[in-house]
Amino acid sequence: MKNSIIKIESLHKSYFSGENSLHVLKGLNLEIKEGEMVSIMGSSGSGKSTLLNILGILDSYDKGSYYLDGMFIDDMSETKAAKYRNRYIGFVFQSFNLISFKNAMENVALPLYYQNVNRKKRNEIALQYLDKLGLKDWAHHLPSELSGGQKQRIAIARSLISQPRVILADEPTGALDSKTSNEVMEILKEVNKTGITVIIVTHEEEISSKTNRIIRLRDGVIESDKVNSKILSYV
């Protein structure tokens, strides 16, 4: 039996704006084991992005508990949160979120900069990751000179460089055409094969069908949590 990497218990989260409050997550229970490849689905407003932000320690929660790799994550200091994000979690965003004035290599190396790895060494490591993703020749290009698929691959390289335990991908293919979407999904699967847990938020069936487990959210509760039988047959 593998360890659970993520475990949440009766998690609640509301947003307040003025007098109105919006109860987004209504007591979620969820456990994700190490090495799983999970997709979280739901229509907009279902709370899937909120859940991902809480999992990524980018946002806080109101009630319940969240354990990341056995550690209780609560409303911690921003410094500690940054350290956990840096060490345990890799982010892949829909809009890539690369730093526009840094070239591909520097973007990939950035998480190591925050670990105070010296420039020469971190750029060396960044090149290795770019090489793995077939982008070595683009290392010195700025994001604006790259295609969407290339940018997302750089973002994945950036999320991998700190050797995280979990990759959190928020609509990673949302801005890509179907061909590059497939390429990105193949890469994420490769990443998953190395033992890293991958959690993808998406609303596309085609994407979720490539993951091992599909969790559907609806109005802040888990509607279904199923093992993807289709994909199991391939394994």
Binding site: E78, N86, R87, F91, I99, F101, E106, Y114, R119
Partner: protein
């Protein structure tokens, strides 16, 4: 600290908004420029004034007589009186705190026509009777010969020393005046020295370089002054207050001259006090300069702070991304502070450099002007300069200013939740 990634962001931020950065930096530039130019000018003022009295004995006072205001011991009020040689001897004996007493006789200066002649050259000059001690209160530089000495006094020699200006009028340029005779106030005196005052900013009987000094005893005798002393300068031994000693001298003299103890009947000037209040004035000026300079600098810092707020706002999303991938608040804060300090320091250094240049040219100009003026005139400004102290203080202030200016924007940057920052468009 010196990682390239840190500086890359700063240069990009400045490059992308060249005009904005330049205008913002101008505020700080101007503040430092003001501070440097003003403090340089004030240094010039202090140098000028103190140079013009550089060797004057600061532990000195001068005392002179005035009409009495009160009847006393049978004398009516309104009496005119003079110090005498006996007064001088008495204070020398009875007040040991006194170092030097220099009695003086103020000669007349006929308003009509020249009173000093040599051959066909002539002029109108003051003639004073002096003791060698006077040179210890208000030293002069001897261009030719020597000052009056005790033997001149003892023998009532008919010798004189003449001011630089007197020499220029009576003698040809470069001519050796020693041993020559001049006719002053109807009598002939042998010239034994030419002096150049070193303290033109303290004038005694007009411009000192237009004075002729003859031995005090000679003057008393030949112009029939008897034992009269017109006024006297005193210096006080180390560790004693000039004001206290002067009071004692005056009350002693009053007792000796039948003057009521509570009658003023005398005037005096305490040089120590003058110097002290002048120093207070200098301090006042420099305080004012720092207030104005720092005020201007604060205005500049507010500008920097403002622009950093805009920068932070523009980069909110970028900062959010950086935080999502592990940048600690400290990293973000130090990044913004570095940028702010960098901007202020560069601007300030330019201000410092430009200010120094302005002061340098002012110095050249003033040196030129001063060299054109006749010597021994009152000196107002001289050697304006920017000291190392000012430069270092300015540097420290710039860094502090930059830190303060960057503080609020930096706090704002890390206060936003990373997720809100990422969503920011």
């Amino acid at each position: 600290m010196f990682d390239k990634d840190r500086w890359q962001e700063i240069f990009i931020a400045i490059k992308q908004n060249k005009l904005r950065s330049a205008l913002t930096a101008f505020g700080v530039f101007w503040g430092i420029l003001m501070l440097v130019v003003m403090s340089g000018s004030s240094n010039g003022l202090v140098n000028g004034i103190t140079h013009g009295m550089r060797s004057f004995a600061t532990n000195s006072a001068f005392i002179w007589t005035d009409v009495t205001n009160k009847p006393y011991k049978g004398f009516q009020q309104g009496r005119r009186w003079n110090f005498t040689n006996e007064d001088v001897e008495m204070i020398k004996e009875q007040i040991p705190e006194i170092d030097v007493v220099a009695p003086r006789l103020r000669g007349w200066r006929s308003s009509s026509g020249h009173n000093v002649h040599r051959g066909t050259n002539s002029g109108t000059f003051n003639i004073n009777g002096d003791y060698p001690e006077y040179n210890r209160i208000d030293p002069s530089e001897m261009i030719y010969g020597r000052f009056i000495n005790q033997i001149d006094i003892n023998n009532r020699r008919k010798v004189c020393i003449i001011g630089e200006r007197v020499y220029e009028v009576l003698f040809d340029e470069g001519e050796n005046p020693i041993g020559e005779y001049i006719k002053a106030g109807g009598l002939y005196y042998q010239v034994i020295g030419v002096f150049k005052p070193t303290n033109p900013n303290i004038q005694m009987d007009g411009n000192k370089s237009e004075n002729i000094y003859i031995p005090f005893s000679t003057m008393q005798r030949v112009y029939n002054y008897g034992n009269t002393v017109h006024y006297m300068g005193i210096t006080v031994k180390d560790g004693y207050d000039v004001g206290d000693v002067t009071e004692r001298v005056m009350s002693l003299i009053k007792r000796n001259n039948f003057i009521a103890p509570d009658d003023d009947a005398m005037g005096h000037v305490n040089v120590q006090e003058l110097v002290r209040s002048m120093n207070y004035m200098f301090i006042g000026i420099s305080v004012l300069i720092w207030i104005v300079g720092i005020g201007t600098l604060i205005a500049g810092a507010v500008g920097i702070s403002n622009i950093m707020l805009v920068v932070v706002r523009e980069r909110t999303k970028e900062i959010g991304i950086q935080r999502a991938i592990g940048a600690r608040p400290r990293t973000i804060v130090s990044q913004i502070l570095t940028e702010s300090v960098f901007l202020t320091t560069i601007a300030g250094f330019l201000g410092l450099a430009f200010g120094t240049l302005v002061i340098h040219f002012a110095d050249l100009f003033i040196t030129h002007i001063n060299s054109q003026r006749p010597p021994d005139e009152f000196i107002f400004i001289r050697d304006p300069q920017v000291g190392l102290g000012i430069a270092l203080a300015a540097l420290v202030m710039l860094v502090v200013t930059g830190l303060i200016a960057g503080f609020i924007p930096a706090r704002k940057a890390v206060r936003v939740k990373p997720i809100d920052a990422i969503r920011h468009e």
